[in-house]
């Protein structure tokens, strides 16, 4: 039992409630939100260290032991995800505090932001399937609010579609939960590790597997269920798109990593080959979608889809190195994708548009921004010595070891196309002659600092990949041994 496990959820919740009360005073709200975020970041880092030193951490609510009560189970993957979530959300919050309109800030931006974090962290930490559903709803409802923030006609229309798609996937999620509960009588993930294999004979396991793949495929924007994403992420203010692009789909990917390694891969022969195909198709079609776009934000949104394919590639190959590579990729992607969106937001702030045809010469006006974009863009494409290179190297190597040559070839081609796409943005937005409409908005140093801190982290992970490697290797080892994980959780009551 460790109360540290629940703090990443409790701190944003308490802060969110407090921020509702102070919503009319943006300066106060900013101070509270940023300090609370830094506090949660500290807690998350402490959690990572605790898990590294003492192994899996548990918290059974109301002291009801698993499988009877709800438990939070924190292994290395959960702790790392929470930590990286807090890193990017702090940077985004810092950026938002100097770039959002006063009107939007007063319109409950800060409370919604904290509730979103509460949902994301809850989803990463929980060890109960129904509880996972509830956290998904918490983060989705906050994201609906953030997506419609500003109430432009386009936003309302796209938020409506986003909401319908997610409500449908939540309904499917509940059907899956009902099937699992009806068949096994438990929803605790640790208990399911031992009870789920019994469903193979009746064929029930296959049905449940497919339902959950569809549910998390929609949430994580996998082929062919990603079509909702690019239009939805274009609508909200760019800072908010940055947070969504970094975090939201990754919760779906995390849920896939968790459920596939715990129940689905050990019990079914079709999951991993299917995921291999899905990974290849997702990365290829995502990047092709990006190539056809002429808008900074839309290009980045399509790249989210494409990048999710790489993470799933790590899961699909399913060796210790591949899973470690996949987890490394998730962490790298959250940092880099958010920083790219923040560059787009900073450019939009200065020139008033994200349309590449209208932009130009941003490198003259803000050379630092151009440099940051160059580093982040190269990291996204996987150029050494940035974090993307380490992640892609691990994935490619594991792919070659597993003799999965087609997927490796596809992922290399997609890397080049990603590089082309980043060069296109650079050429049209940062080179050429500077457009005349320069809007000088205060707060540029803070915005640049927020982006620079994320890009620096990407550089650190690139040069010092060995720093993070022990952590992702622990995470991968824990994922590949579900029975050990389940035993630890279930036997906690004896202590």
């Amino acid at each position: 039992m460790n109360n540290l496990c629940v703090l990443p959820v409790v701190i944003p919740m308490a802060t969110g409630v407090l921020l509702i009360l102070t919503h009319a005073r943006p300066a106060l709200s900013r101070a509270i939100a940023i300090s609370a975020n830094i506090l949660s970041l500290g807690v998350a880092l402490a959690l990572v260290e605790t898990v590294r030193a003492d192994g899996i951490q548990l918290l059974a609510f109301g002291n009801w032991p698993a499988p009877f009560g709800i438990v939070f189970t924190v292994d290395m993957l959960s702790a790392l995800m929470v930590a990286v979530t807090m890193v990017v959300s702090t940077a985004t919050l810092l950026f938002a505090s100097v770039s959002l309109d006063d009107r939007l800030e007063k319109n409950f931006f800060y409370p919604l932001f904290q509730f979103l974090l509460m949902g994301v962290n809850g989803a990463f930490l929980t060890g109960d399937l129904f509880n996972l559903f509830v956290w998904f709803e918490v983060l989705l409802v906050s994201s609906y609010g953030l997506m419609a923030l500003g109430s432009q006609a386009y936003q309302l229309q796209e938020t409506f579609k986003y909401l319908v798609v997610n409500a449908l996937s939540s309904a499917l999620f509940l059907i899956g939960i009902a099937l699992i509960y009806g068949a096994t009588g438990t929803l605790n993930m640790a208990d399911l590790v031992f009870k789920f294999p019994a469903l193979v004979e009746s064929g029930m396991a296959g049905v449940i597997t497919v339902i959950f793949l569809v549910v998390f495929g929609i949430k994580g924007a996998l082929f062919p269920l990603y079509v909702w994403l690019p239009r939805a992420y274009y609508g909200p203010p760019t800072v908010i798109s940055g947070l969504f692009g970094g975090l939201l789909t990754k919760v779906g990917v995390y849920a896939l990593f968790r459920t596939v390694t715990l129940f689905f891969a050990p019990t079914s022969s079709f999951v991993l080959p299917l995921l291999c195909f899905v990974a290849g198709a997702t990365m290829l079609l995502g990047v092709l979608g990006a190539l056809s776009q002429w808008d900074f934000k839309r290009i980045l949104s399509y790249h989210i889809v494409s990048q999710v394919g790489y993470m799933i590639m790590g899961l699909a190959i399913y060796t210790p190195l591949a899973l470690a590579g996949g987890i490394f990729y998730i962490i790298h992607h959250i940092l880099v994708k958010t920083s790219l969106f923040l560059v787009a937001a900073a450019v939009e702030k200065r020139y008033g548009t994200t349309n590449l045809r209208a932009l130009g010469g941003a490198a003259d006006g803000s050379p630092l921004l151009a440099t940051l974009f160059m580093f982040a863009g190269l990291a996204l494409a996987g150029a050494p010595p940035l974090s993307g290179f380490v992640a892609k190297f691990m994935l490619l190597r594991s792919g070659l070891e597993a003799a999965n040559y087609v997927l490796v070839a596809v992922s290399i081609v997609v890397s080049f196309l990603t590089l082309y796409s980043m060069m296109k943005i650079y050429r049209y937005a940062f080179w050429r002659e500077e457009t005349e409409t320069v809007i000088v908005v205060p707060g540029e140093p803070v915005r640049t600092f927020a982006i620079a801190s994320l890009v620096t982290l990407s550089l650190v992970l690139g040069f010092g990949g060995a720093l993070l490697l022990p952590y992702v290797e622990i995470a991968a080892a824990q994922l590949l041994d579900p029975t050990a994980w389940g035993t630890v959780v279930l036997e906690a009551r004896l202590r």
Binding site: V141, Q157, L163, L168, A171
Partner: protein
């Protein structure tokens, strides 16, 4: 009993999906409502549909019903209610700004590509 509940679930979900495929915002919302009710019934069925007493200890009842699905449904209903309220607000705001609640009619109006 099982067959009857199964039929009701099937009808709810079928009607829900049919309405969801419509182009009118309001019908989509009604469809989602039906769909989530069908799903809630499925959750209820997952606990078994046998007869049993209320799950209270110390009453001397030999068979009691499983209370967990009921707790799950309660949560799902509350979430569904909140989401439906949000959907209605969005649909109304969208109608006010566009003066149409037909997605076909709205299509392409707001594309800036």
């Amino acid at each position: 009993m099982h067959f009857a509940v199964l039929t009701v679930i099937a009808v709810f979900i079928t009607c829900g999906v049919y309405l969801l495929l419509d182009r009118t915002l309001l019908r989509i919302i009604i469809g989602l409502g039906l769909l989530s009710n069908g799903v809630n019934l499925a959750l209820l069925a997952s606990g078994g549909l046998g007869a049993g007493a209320a799950p209270i200890l110390g009453q001397g009842n030999a068979t009691i019903v499983d209370p967990l699905p009921q707790a799950l449904i309660l949560t799902a209903i509350v979430i569904g209610f909140g989401v439906t309220a949000l959907l209605l607000t969005l649909a109304f705001a969208s109608y006010q700004s566009q003066l149409s609640d037909d997605l076909e009619d709205l299509h392409g109006r707001l594309d800036d590509e």
